[in-house]
Amino acid sequence: MNRLFKKAFNDLRGRPARSVLVIIALIVGMWGIGSIAVSYTVLKNDLSENYLKTSPGHVILVSQSFNKLDLDQFRQRPEIASAEFRDFSIERVEVHKDQWLPFWLFGVEDFDRFQLARFYSEQGQFPPPPGTLLIERNGQLISDLDIGSIVRLQTANKQIQQVPVTGIAFDPAQAPSSMDYWIYGYVDKQTFHNLTGIKNNQRLVVRFNGVYSTQEVRVMTQHLLEDFSAMGIETTKVTLPKFNEHPHQFQLNSLLFLQGGIGMLAFVMGMILVSQVMSAILAQQVRQIGILKAIGASSLQVFNSYLVIAAILGLIAMTLSIPLAIISGYGFTQFVAQQLNFEVLTPRLPAQYYFLLFSIGLLLPILASVNVIRRGVMVSVVDALSDYGVTIQNESKKLMQLPFSSTTMLAVRNTLRRKRRVMITVATLALGVAIFSTGFNLRQSLVNMLDDIGHSLQYDVRVVLNTPLPESQVFNQFQGVDNVKQIQNWSGAKGIIQTNQVGMSSDTTIVALPYDTNVIDFEMLAGRWLQSSEALEIVVNQSVLESFDEAVIGEHYQLSIQGKLHTVKLVGIAREFALPTIYMDKAQYEQQIDPQGLAKTVLFVANENSAEEVAALKKNIERTVENAAIKVRYVTSHSEWAKILYDHLDIILSLLSFLALLVLIVGALGMASATSINIVERTREIGVLKAIGATPAMVRQLFVNEGMIVIVASILIGLLVALPLSVLLANFFGDLILQVPLNFAFSYPGLLITLITCLLFGWLASRIPAERAINVSVREALAYE
């Protein structure tokens, strides 16, 4: 081996701890960017591919006159890729004793021949024999249902029916049951009709040829509707699913965004750490660099020898980091796939990704080290040979006097001797503190949001009826239920805001409630809540805004309810974490729209509203519903609803916490590295201190004090940065997942945890290297060169 390279290699071997630190830093950096490359590639492709392989419909049309349609002929149209009747109804299924969830029941035209909206057999029989059903596999995570179970089904028109489960299906096109808390079931057409009483073939799913955007789908749908109208087919509902996008793509996007951020940050942190550790290595080598140059080595020769070492360390780190990146990349992918209920279709990375990972493995150490090495070897021979560590250059100004002890002043001044180094250390640590604190603040924002829900929803249990009932009947049925303080009935229907674009507006739930109701108290994003008024006023939640061409407070809009148009005035937009809902005053609704006075939604306020009492109340209500054969859509407590929302965000917040810890650890490693450089550079100074009376404990404490100054500065800066960062991320994630920004909230427990964790990390990062300082003998230190 070339002697120069051998020298550099032996230098590395002589300091195994430092070499290991470089390798760890490289692994962190490579793992970060490598695992992004793996999971991003797989996730971005696989969720989409899972979804697209099901051949999802572009438009779903509902009509009671599809008997006029010759489906076979319809399918021959050039613009139609495929079309199929897929019956659908939302019923209720008992998932545990006395616990019911919404049940999305699909009636399939032909299990052996379906061309679109495909799902797959996971287990058991496929197709299900008549009179039996398949359960989507993800539903098993929130229920006791399995092959052989007899499900208790409550449908709109019938009593409780018992239906055997004969198979488990996998339907990757649906939102995961475990996230949205409903179950999917699949039966043949006849069974669908038998269970629900609903006529078959009223719901047509269509997939077009040659469309590449939502707008093109709209155009095609418009033509279709015109054709249907000409055929005498009256379409009562048009739904345009998001074009080629899984229902929970938004969640994946936010996870990918966060993961991308984590990975890039790990890469940058890894580079910073490598740079700091290489600085430490070169700090010890200054004299030797001088000697090499004195005996004939050019700067380039010396530079190359250290660069090759950096590359060798990179290669060593790669042997660990590439498998780690692949494992963690796939691990994360599997985790997400499980959460979002899809299959990983890319079991092996394409060859070019291995090449990419290898290139990163070589590039990272070189990029991270090149500047440090360049600066290290550019030192002149005379400076290198006369280097005894830190010197104060041209310090002619008077030193600031502060009312601290001489040892404290020494620690303060020592900290500021290498300004560039301390700035990098502080910046890295501050970033870790900022992200750590932000994670807690985001969590607090989420908790506060859930509290807001609690305050805005003053009821404890909500029952939505399938078939509206006279109010008196409702009261009679439920007045015997224990622990009920108040029952309030709301009426309502489904309506469509009239817009200029087909499919822009779908059926929206209209809730008619007393304007002065005491069971809800929404935060208004714009305008005001309902008032007693002659005009028909509406308040919408923010989810409805998509239905409007442009929502303007005070403007009038056309609202179609049961085929009749009504002019309504938009008076407010409420902040509500729910499906699109339009609110109007019950008195106005009954006066102008539907005078029948039927209850559609029943709200219960409990006397005792602890979690256990409310859960018991809900069960009692379910029993009453079952016994009275009341047809309900769902029964839910608002704490269940809050849990669903929390679960949506929790995965993201957990990832953020992991990121924060990673950044903190890397920051602490960087600080430890900077401290050890300081100790090396000040070996002679340590000898002098010991020679004039400093005990080993005093010397150690000096370095610990310097480290604590750095960590305190980092904490202060980090906490300051955390404030705008928390606001930014609260807005971002709230918008992304809940369509409403989360309000910023500061977490005091989080502040305490951040302080304790960061102080502890900082103390360790200075205490451990400081042990080395006290082990140097006076004689060695004074003779150090």
Binding site: R3, K7, R287, I295, G296, S299, E785
Partner: protein
């Protein structure tokens, strides 16, 4: 003898917090090829700075330095490093051997850097040099395993690795006992006899060491530039250190 080394009006100063410090002032010095020159003076007189000028380790603020008719100030950093490796062997006071290479490898490293000695001859040459300084038995040991005298002999061998015409030594015996000092001085004399130009910065007694000339520095100026006996006379008239 013609000037092999010529310093003409060389000055070097340093700007410090306390103001300008003149390390060398208007130095004129000629050294012929094959001369054995001692540079003496008190601490802070500018001896090491003068040595740094001669080796190109540092550059003067004014004046010119010609070695073998080459103005070394015109050389770029990388050219200077190579020139130094080929033309000047440097012996440091604290040996400055590379601690992570064996003695033999330290010598071979010096040859690797300038690539003057053919690759296949380097090991043999290194072993020969180590034999000449009588430490061949320690060839495979690291420097820390050798005594001070042995390390300094290894450093001298390294300085000779590329067969440079000039050997420069900065207080080569400053850390050695008198017996070893004598041994090192004999080595230098042998090198001079073999035709090398040897320049030594020293605190030691300069008579009986075989120097052709002694250059005495004081406060950055040459105050004496004569034969060794004349320098002894000058010394007796004032403290040397």
């Amino acid at each position: 003898m013609s000037d092999f080394i010529r310093l003409n009006k060389v000055s070097k100063w340093f700007d410090t917090a306390a103001g300008r410090f003149d390390a060398l002032s208007d130095i004129n010095l000629s050294i012929a090829q094959g001369e054995y020159v001692a540079i003496v003076g008190k601490s802070g007189s500018g001896k090491s700075t003068l040595l740094n000028m001669l080796t190109g380790i540092d550059h003067p603020n004014e004046g010119s330095i010609k070695i073998n008719a080459r103005e070394i100030r015109t050389l770029k950093e990388s050219q200077l490093a190579r020139w130094r490796g080929v033309n000047i062997g440097i012996v440091f006071q604290f040996f400055q051997l590379i601690p992570t290479l064996s003695i033999l490898e330290n010598l071979m490293l010096a040859m690797d850097l300038v690539d003057v000695i053919p690759r296949q001859e380097r090991r043999e040459r290194a072993e020969l040099l180590l034999s000449q300084v009588d430490i061949i038995a320690h060839a495979s040991k690291p420097p820390t395993a050798l005594s001070g005298g042995q390390q300094q002999r290894a450093a001298i061998a390294r300085a000779l690795a590329n067969n440079p015409p000039i050997l420069v030594a900065d207080e080569p015996t400053g850390n050695l006992d008198s017996r070893t000092t004598e041994m090192i001085q004999m080595l230098f004399s042998q090198l001079v006899n073999s035709g090398k130009t040897v320049i030594v910065v020293t605190h030691e007694q300069v008579n009986n060491a075989g120097y052709d000339r002694v250059v005495m520095l004081s406060d950055g100026c040459i105050v004496n530039n004569t034969g060794p006996m004349e320098t002894v006379v000058s010394h007796s008239q004032g403290a040397l250190l």
